[in-house]
Symmetry: C2
């Protein structure tokens, strides 16, 4: 492993984040919430550490597969740690485990919180919470559309073809080019949403924070009542539409902006995502009607639509306490949690395309049992899915089951009840936000033991990085090849400079 | 499809079962429970229907793949219907949905019951319940080791090599030979268990019924308190050992009887099954100790050992109410439910070997991410697992998830709560018996709506026949090829005779 090169890049990312740590200061000045020193100090720590790493380690050019994994995991972990500093320095958030949980929940666009009262926090800290979502969302789009496909992670190779680029709709030769294009789209959609929310009467601060959380499918709100606070059908409808867009492959949005209007309809994953949304809303409206949960059809439809899109896209915003809905609705919502958004979106979960291919695979198997001599191939749209991609997707399900079982076992071993424990793991592993029971939509994660918070933070990270990326680092193979220990590379930059 | 040939074989099976329907009559005579007419009538119905089918349809020689699937599903469904007649005629068991549920639960060796009081039933009816287990267990051994491998179902091809036969430990050329060998082993172990239980003071009737349920990993008891009724450490220990043996591949037992003493240790699936049992017992003893569930270590160890083996082998006997254990124990038990016994045993669930290969697959994937150019193969013992077998096993997991999600959705849609609904599906789909909450170890399935009972009976059938066998019949492909409709084949036997 090129440990030096990895740490050099990590240092640069820390410096970049330390610049973003200055962004809440204008809000602190405006609201006089006394958090300027908190953010300045956090930024300084980040810049100091980052600078030190850059000084100590030279950049390296020929970084390999394993370096890629190390950079991705190290960055997310390091940014979550640095991002937890303002929470810790502000003294508003209990133990460091709590701060780390909240920060990881932000950067992984999960949206699970340890806070029971949101409004008591200083506005600049609330802004930072939302900003971590938005930055995490940026990271995820580039990761899933430009970096993971190159690393061959869990079937994401399929998306090499989807990646936008400046020439002829093909892959930009350099990750930086792809990133710039995607980020422009992301920024543009964010600005449109801020504008639309403000047109609906939402204040600038709330509009920005909720737009960040929506685009990142994060779920942090500036209000304890989440989006329900606004009590506005317009705001909810706008947010439903933009959550849905945020759960869509961003390569498709890019294509739309370059004039290809039929790009969504041509995408098989998007079609299933669309149908799934409507089908789930239909089922929940029906069940809520049968059990008489809502007095009017309009209330029922509004709450069901919002919750289905919020959960399927793994945003986790709330307008209703779905823990009070009939059991069948909860089963539908848990299923949606596991499915998640589209690949290449900011949404979490297993991803619609993986389920699509998984069941195409099972169908092919059944067909082969009836016609043993027939040879079939799995297609996605017009693309024939290569064997190694199928293999990676199936392995992904094995990893998912393993992570889910082990994490649920550990959380319940800490004394948490089954439904709370299992749905807390589902909510974090799929980067959703709320679970059921004691971590339900009106509850929070604050009461869990510190060890459970650390474990669930790890689940958020693993889920966000498509499991494989984290799991690879847990294999002996990964470390067996790191022959040159990190201290052998220590100080080459200083030597070269001297 | 050779519909005539299929129905001819089905007719023969009905006649065979109608002979077994006479077996409870001696018990009815001995206990004077007045059920002689009930069993005579049921037997007559079976013999009449079977005879009619044999008269109407000629046997056919060249039966194909699809005929195999049709025979297997039709037989299990038909036998469960015929086996429900004594319950219905006896007037002791409520609606026909209840009788069908109880009969299907017997033949699929599930052991879920709709009865709240067991002892009130006439002894001959209790004997019939246990006998359905034992016959179902016989069917399953032959199905999993001789029939399904030929049909290529869900990775069972792997077991073609495992199948015992009269010459040189290789596959007997005909299914009948294999069946005879396996049944001798099954009968021999049953007789040993009856003897051991009687030596421990258990009466002949109880010894026979519990031996049938143990060997079949069924779980029906002749007492409401299940095996806990005997309050005997000796009886529990003997049953633990024999449940464990019943959850083991019967091909291994056959090899032991032919003098190969190291056969168990050489089998990779068995080694994992063995380790898993001890690891689960260790964890549950630890958790129960921490939460102070039992006063003495001996009680804790005894209850944990019994419950782990009972659940992992999918027997479902009870000596303790594990619904009162701490949440982590319930998560462990649910995991064991899903894993199930070894392939080629009477146990249900996904099977240890499928999990073994599934995770070997994920590990190979992770290794390939680190060494992208390396080519790896998955081995089971010394055997290299062919690609098509891996593909079938992975497809099995997709089917399993689909069955589980849809069934849980439907059951909760009938108004059942989440934990009850989900564990009722797990308990039936994996052929275990009890679930948690309202279908927990001290409860029963009697209070569920009739539609849920039919659905759960279908889950038992699907689980028992390794999902694929049932799923194939649900595909349009299967029926598309059945060009000659069944009525075109009607009456050829009568014609040929005349």
């Amino acid at each position: 492993m090129h440990s030096g090169g990895v740490l050099n890049i990590f240092g640069k990312l820390l410096i970049l984040l330390s610049l973003f740590l200055l962004a809440p200061i204008p809000f602190s000045l405006y609201y006089h919430d006394g958090m300027i020193a908190t953010f300045l100090l956090s930024s300084l720590v980040g810049a100091g550490l980052g600078g030190l790493l850059i000084l100590l380690f030279l950049p390296e050019k020929d970084l390999g597969y394993r370096d890629g994994f190390a950079i991705v995991v190290l960055s997310w972990l390091g940014l979550a740690l640095l991002g937890a500093l303002p929470y810790a320095f502000s003294g508003q958030m209990g133990s460091f485990a709590d701060c780390f949980f909240e920060s990881m929940s932000g950067f992984t666009t999960t949206g699970s919180t340890i806070l029971s009262e949101i409004e008591v926090l200083p506005p600049s800290v609330l802004f930072w919470r939302s900003l971590t979502h938005w930055l995490g969302g940026m990271g995820i789009i580039v990761l899933s559309l430009a970096i993971l496909p190159l690393l061959g992670v869990g079937g994401m190779q399929l998306y090499q073809a989807e990646m936008p680029g400046p020439t002829k709709d093909r892959l930009a030769p350099r990750i930086e080019d792809t990133a710039k294009i995607l980020w422009s789209v992301y920024l543009l959609i964010t600005l449109i949403l801020i504008l639309l929310l403000m047109l609906g009467g939402v204040g600038f601060f709330d509009a920005v924070c909720h737009s960040f959380a929506t685009l990142a499918t994060g779920g942090f709100s500036t209000h304890t009542a989440s989006v329900g606070y606004f009590k506005s059908a317009y705001v909810e409808t706008v947010i439903i539409v933009f959550m849905f867009l945020a759960g869509t492959n961003f390569a498709l949005h890019y294509r739309l902006f370059s004039g290809k209007y039929r790009t969504y309809l041509k995408n098989e994953e998007f079609r299933l995502y669309f149908k799934l949304t409507f089908f789930a809303i239909f089922l929940i409206v029906l069940a809520n009607m049968r059990y008489g949960v809502y007095d009017s059809f309009a209330d029922n439809f509004r709450a069901a639509s919002f919750q289905v899109v919020s959960i399927l896209t793994t945003t986790g915003f709330g307008t209703a306490d779905f823990d009070l809905w009939p059991p069948v609705c909860k089963v539908i919502l848990i299923s949606l949690m596991v499915i998640g958004g589209c690949a290449g979106s900011t949404g979490g979960g297993i991803k619609v395309v993986r389920f699509l291919l998984f069941f195409k695979y099972a169908r092919l198997q059944l067909r082969n049992l009836v016609h043993p001599k027939a040879v079939g191939a799995i297609k996605l749209g017009k693309l024939k899915v290569p064997q190694e991609v199928m293999v990676a997707i199936l392995g992904f399900f094995a990893l998912y089951i393993a992570f889910f079982m082990i994490a649920t076992l550990l959380v319940t071993a800490m004394g948490v009840d089954i439904v709370t424990g299992a749905t807390a793991v589902i909510a974090t592993l799929n980067n959703i936000g709320p679970g059921l029971n004691l971590v339900g939509p009106t509850a929070n994660f604050g009461h869990l033991p510190a060890a459970a918070k650390i474990l669930l933070s790890f689940c958020m990270l693993a889920g966000r990085l498509e499991l494989y990326t984290v799991a690879v680092l847990l294999t002996p193979d990964f470390w067996a090849m790191a022959r040159k220990p990190v201290w052998r590379r220590f100080l080459p930059a200083a030597k070269a400079a001297g």
